[in-house]
Amino acid sequence: MMKTTDQIALNDWYVVAALSNLAAGQTHQTRLLGQNISLKAGADGRPTCVEIDAGQPARVVEHVVVRYDFVWVCLGQPSRDIVDIPEIGAPGRRFIQRGRIGVATSAQRVIENFFDLSHFSFVHTGTLGGMDVTEVPPYSVNVRENGELWATECRFFQPKASAAIAGGVEIAYNYRVPRPLMAIIYKTSPSHSTENDIIGLFVQPRDETDCVVHSFGLMWDAVSSDAALLHFFHEVFAQDRSVLIHQLPKKLPLMPRREIPTHSDALSIAYRRWLDKSGLQFGVDRETAKAA
């Protein structure tokens, strides 16, 4: 696939690497929106990026920024600043980058799965959900004045909500979807019940149906080792991945009746409408339902 011509997609920012994974002087080859790119960390630690065509450097990418210890790239003209995440850098929580994981589907399918409550019992049985409590209570969905999509007052009973806790507990969730391929969870911290743990997903769309998931955690957890936190996350994500690679079509269908939702899909329904209004083409499927 060639670099997309979708201006809405091109003019947004995407994480393409964790800064700590770019060794000084080494190059890192990857792909964004159908375009091969090469990243390089200079001696001063500042990364640079070039587009690669037919194996040769073709264009220097103008918009390369480090923020939150991630490398962000915009292949077009940025239509806005990188999303503000004020909790990163605020005292208290522990910040952990959780690596990159490739998934052979659209970034939109990954985002939708990330904020889906009703799969916990079946895909994450024994950790984020249990077979005995499958019900998803009603929650609120709204698009805020700044254009961000939010779901609030979400609740779900979880047998093991994080690496830091052993027993089951009802967890409160808020979901923030500030950009189409970015989502942030705020969930009750099992060890600090008045505070939130935060998990963020930055999905790098390699192609329309192939992506790399970068993510971070901001946890109230002084006990678990980094390895324990990563192990918990990787177990959960491997379960998600095993579902995601078997969903067809891989591009997210936006038109109603292509896929039949229920009440617990209120955020998914809103996400698809919100994507539709955004004009984004990359990774979405706008075909209407076939006549039955």
Partner: protein, 288 residues
């Protein structure tokens, strides 16, 4: 006429009955359509489009619970009519009628499960060629060739399997005769130990039956061809009537040898001869 041609009113085999135990769920392909084939605890079979109507997950990765098929993603439960019976996220909710899987006509007969992607022209597959014998499934094998080529190869190059032979049987020396009688194409081969008759009903191109002269000691069998995709097929091989384990093994070995030679056989003069004989037949429209 293309023998082995795809049509929407024919039954095609998708799996041997013995390969689908009660409570089992498996994927299958028919004409490029992804299917889920499953059997409830009580034994009811279902052949559906392999897609959950909710979020397009493969139902063939799901499981059965009693009489329902459960999607692995959100646990939606579907009854044998394809309608969603239960959404675990909302246990008290009666699911919308739109929440239903696409169900295809399916039937279990002659030790196989058969499916039809359109409206079946008959209540069950026409397997009169079995001549009252019951096919005993040996194995199913996927091949990289279209169903038409596979059916022509099977007609023009019978599996010669003699369970007591001490050395590999030689293939027939001659394709002696090739005749179209009504819609039945009959190909007679002169084998080492006697004649071998291969027949297929062109109206139901998925069944090739092979009956060697009893004096030859070779084995009668049926080969059922499932068009999985445009360029792929599965062959379901069955003994006609009872046979010893040695007989089953001999036929299996013959099929494996056939698969290795599929490319060459598809170009052979015998195959061309059978193809030309089949060309004289015109498929009637199911409307008449």
């Amino acid at each position: 006429m293309r023998i082995g041609a795809v049509n929407l009113w024919s039954w095609y085999p998708v799996v041997a009955s013995s390969d689908l135990q009660a409570g089992a769920v498996m994927p299958a392909m028919l004409h490029g359509e992804r299917l889920v084939v499953w059997r409830s605890r009580e034994g009811r079979i279902g052949v559906w489009n392999d897609r959950c109507p909710h979020r397009s997950m493969s139902l063939s990765l799901g499981a059965t619970t009693g009489e329902t098929l459960v999607c692995p993603y959100h646990g939606w439960e579907f009854g044998s009519d394809g309608n969603c019976r239960r959404i675990p996220a909302h246990p008290a909710l009666t699911p919308s009628r739109a929440a239903r899987a696409r169900v295809y006509p399916a039937i279990e007969a002659a030790n196989y499960i058969w499916a039809c992607l359109g409206e079946p022209a008959s209540a069950q597959p026409e397997y009169g060629l079995f001549a009252g014998l019951v096919p005993e499934p040996i194995r199913s094998m996927h091949v990289r060739a279209d169903a038409e080529t596979v059916a022509l190869v099977l007609l023009s190059h019978p599996l010669v399997a003699h369970p007591l032979a001490t050395k590999a049987e030689r293939p027939p020396a001659e394709l002696a005769d090739c005749q179209l009688n009504g819609d039945i194409l009959a190909v007679t081969h002169a084998g080492e130990r006697g004649h071998i008759l291969c027949r297929a009903r062109l109206g139901l191109p998925s069944i090739v039956v092979c009956q060697p002269d009893p004096a030859s000691g070779s084995l009668p069998y049926a080969a059922l061809v499932q068009p999985t995709g445009e360029d792929t097929a599965a062959i379901h091989l069955a003994l006609l009537g009872n046979g010893t384990p040695a007989a089953r093994l001999a036929l299996n070995s013959a099929l494996v040898r056939l698969r290795h030679r599929m490319g060459d056989l598809a170009e052979s003069a015998w195959l061309l001869k059978v193809r030309n004989a089949a060309a004289g037949w015109a498929q009637p429209s199911p409307m008449t």
